[in-house]
């Protein structure tokens, strides 16, 4: 299995990471070698195996649906690269 440049461009779009041509080229090589390394799994017959869904045997606990924190808007906004009063600011979305 090789990951060609078009595939790299497609998945980088999905992953929202912009790449220049040089990077696309080197990533195509790296990802191809990683996918080749992974390929030995195909030798294994897994027809009768159920996929692992959780590493812990216990089922998850249920808890009361109550608010236990909050009122920390200003603290949370402190880390925002751009804010306006109580809002996060992003580039304009609607024309």
């Amino acid at each position: 299995m090789s990951i060609d440049k078009d595939t790299v461009k497609h998945i980088s779009k999905l992953a929202k990471i912009s790449l220049d041509e040089k990077k696309v080229d080197s990533l195509s090589k790296d990802l191809t070698s990683i996918m080749r390394f992974i390929e030995n799994l195909n030798k294994l017959n897994t027809d009768k195996i159920e996929p692992l869904t959780s590493i812990i045997n216990a089922s998850l606990k249920s808890r009361k649906d109550e608010v236990v924190d909050g009122k920390i808007r200003d603290e949370i906004l402190k880390n925002s690269p751009e804010k306006n009063e109580e809002f996060f600011v992003v580039p304009k979305v609607i024309e």
């Binding site: 990471i17 812990i56 808890r63 979305v93």
Partner: protein, 484 residues
């Protein structure tokens, strides 16, 4: 290096209790050592002034009830610390100041310890050499050109060089045990669920666990005791009683059955590693344990499985870094371009590779062939362990296929770097506890570790077996200080 910082954590705590020295005195020593050791690049953020203040407060209050009373501890910069910058070794979080404290660090502080600083690590804990950190690589005190291992490389280096009396790291595929092995220290990855993951920057949520890194096994039991426990904020943490690891710690392991898996005798493994493994077997035989040959037939598929599951989870976990709510933001003509540029500028090469691999194996048309397949093989690997544990109490293997390697040796070929984790990865895939304990040196006088893998929630047995090895291996960390 002064006398105090050569003491073990346990000795330091007892020394404070018995008024041999004050918390302030020992804190100042570790700060002094840290300041002189910039060459190692072990710290990302120093909290020295705050640490001295905490030490002074402690000396006034003289409250010795906690397990870690009066001790400064530097931690991996993957644990969120309230009002202290937390970067995960990444540019994308270079300015992130959490408004909350991770449960595990909070547990340490509740036991009387306080923060000394935040330690360097591979970016988002993705790496085995600490070379992927945005803040530069860390140097191993065992050699100026050597990596300390990774991803908890700053933790391992700081501990081995006497900059902190103990530390904590995280282990997703070997990130505690491999650097411990490379630096002659003890590192334990607890059972999945033993420690809370709340407030730890997430890499691969079904594999990540926090654990102690210490100078000896007794200290390891102590820190594990302090950090473990159920946390309602992490639904995958286990609501199980935490054993008293310290009072139950014993080197009496007579009659315990130890499995030796033949599949861990890998191709091209240096003789020295094989010899160390044989020595480990002899030590445990000498302690009265019974050695049994076992088979873990799907071991050869563990790395491939890991490099599907871990990137898949990472690509999903790291989707949150978009330049809106925190962290680095790049310019862009519109929202999508801002996202794309932010992530392109903010993430390093290894993180990009893993996000892209993860996105690929989860993408439409490939999900069944890769991700679902890997989850099936993961079940088979776990079944191998489950079956073996019907016959044995623990499993002994080498920790790593080599000693510490040179900076730059493996960073150009991602796959050769991945092979480093061949003995540690199966443990994470199966959610088991495992420890690396220093057991000897190779011909270049570099430390080598042995790994003991235990049954789920049986950290006590692997600690006891490590103690039996520690007493017999008589490993001495003969480090000349060259890095001041």
């Amino acid at each position: 290096m002064s006398i105090i910082s050569k003491l073990s954590l346990t000795e330091i705590i007892n020394g404070i209790k018995n008024k041999k020295f004050s918390s302030e005195e020992i804190t100042k020593e570790f700060i002094e050592n840290s300041k002189k050791s910039k060459k190692l690049n072990a710290y990302i953020t120093e909290c020295f002034d705050e640490a001295i203040k905490s030490a002074k407060d402690f000396d006034k209050k003289k409250d010795y009830k906690g397990l870690l009373s009066g001790v400064p501890i530097a931690v991996k910069d993957l644990f969120c610390t309230k009002n202290i910058k937390t970067t995960a070794g990444s540019k994308i979080l270079h300015n992130f100041v959490p408004t909350y404290e991770s449960t595990v660090t909070n547990n340490l502080w509740s036991q009387g310890a306080f923060l000394l600083g935040k330690l360097n690590c591979d970016e988002f804990a993705m790496g085995s050499s600490n070379e992927t950190s945005f803040f530069g690589n860390v140097i191993n005190p065992f050699g100026e050109k050597l990596v300390p291992g990774g991803s908890s490389g700053g933790s391992a280096s700081a501990l081995a060089a006497g900059l902190t009396p103990a530390t904590i790291g995280t282990d997703t595929g070997g990130s505690i045990r491999q650097p411990a092995s490379f630096t002659g220290t003890v590192g334990l990855k607890p059972t999945y669920g033993r420690c809370s993951r709340w407030g730890i920057v997430a890499f691969a949520s079904s594999l990540d666990q926090a654990g102690p890194m210490t100078n000896n096994v007794e200290d390891c039991a102590l820190v594990l005791q302090a950090m473990s426990g159920y946390d309602p904020k992490d639904s995958t943490s286990a609501d199980k009683k935490v054993d008293n690891y310290i009072s139950n710690l014993t080197e009496k392991v007579k009659g315990l059955k130890i499995g030796i898996p033949k599949e861990y005798r890998v191709e091209n493994m240096p003789n020295e590693i094989d010899n160390l493994w044989k020595k480990g077997i002899d030590y445990l035989k000498d302690a009265g344990a019974i050695i049994k040959n076992i088979s873990l037939p799907h071991t050869m598929y563990a790395l491939s499985t890991y490099y599907i599951v871990a990137p898949a989870e990472a690509s999903s976990n790291l989707a949150r870094y978009d330049g809106v709510k925190y962290g680095h933001r790049a310019k862009g003509k519109n929202l999508i371009e801002m996202y794309e540029n932010t992530r392109s500028e903010g993430f390093g090469d290894e993180v990009k590779r893993r996000i892209l691999i993860g996105t690929y194996v989860l993408s439409s048309g490939y999900y069944d062939a890769y991700y679902l397949k890997a989850q099936k093989v993961r079940q088979m690997i776990k079944n191998d362990f489950d079956k073996s544990f019907n016959d044995v109490d623990a499993i002994l293997t080498p920790s790593t296929p080599s000693s510490a390697f040179k900076i730059g040796d493996k960073s150009k070929d991602p796959v050769s770097m991945y092979l480093n984790d061949i003995f540690t990865v199966p443990v994470n895939l199966s959610g088991l506890p495992a420890i690396s304990v220093p057991a000897g040196y190779d011909k270049n006088k570099l430390p080598l570790g042995l790994q003991i893998i235990g049954k789920p929630f049986d950290e006590q047995t692997i600690l006891n077996l490590s103690l039996a090895i520690e007493k017999r291996a008589n490993f001495k960390k003969n480090l000349e200080v060259w890095w001041n």
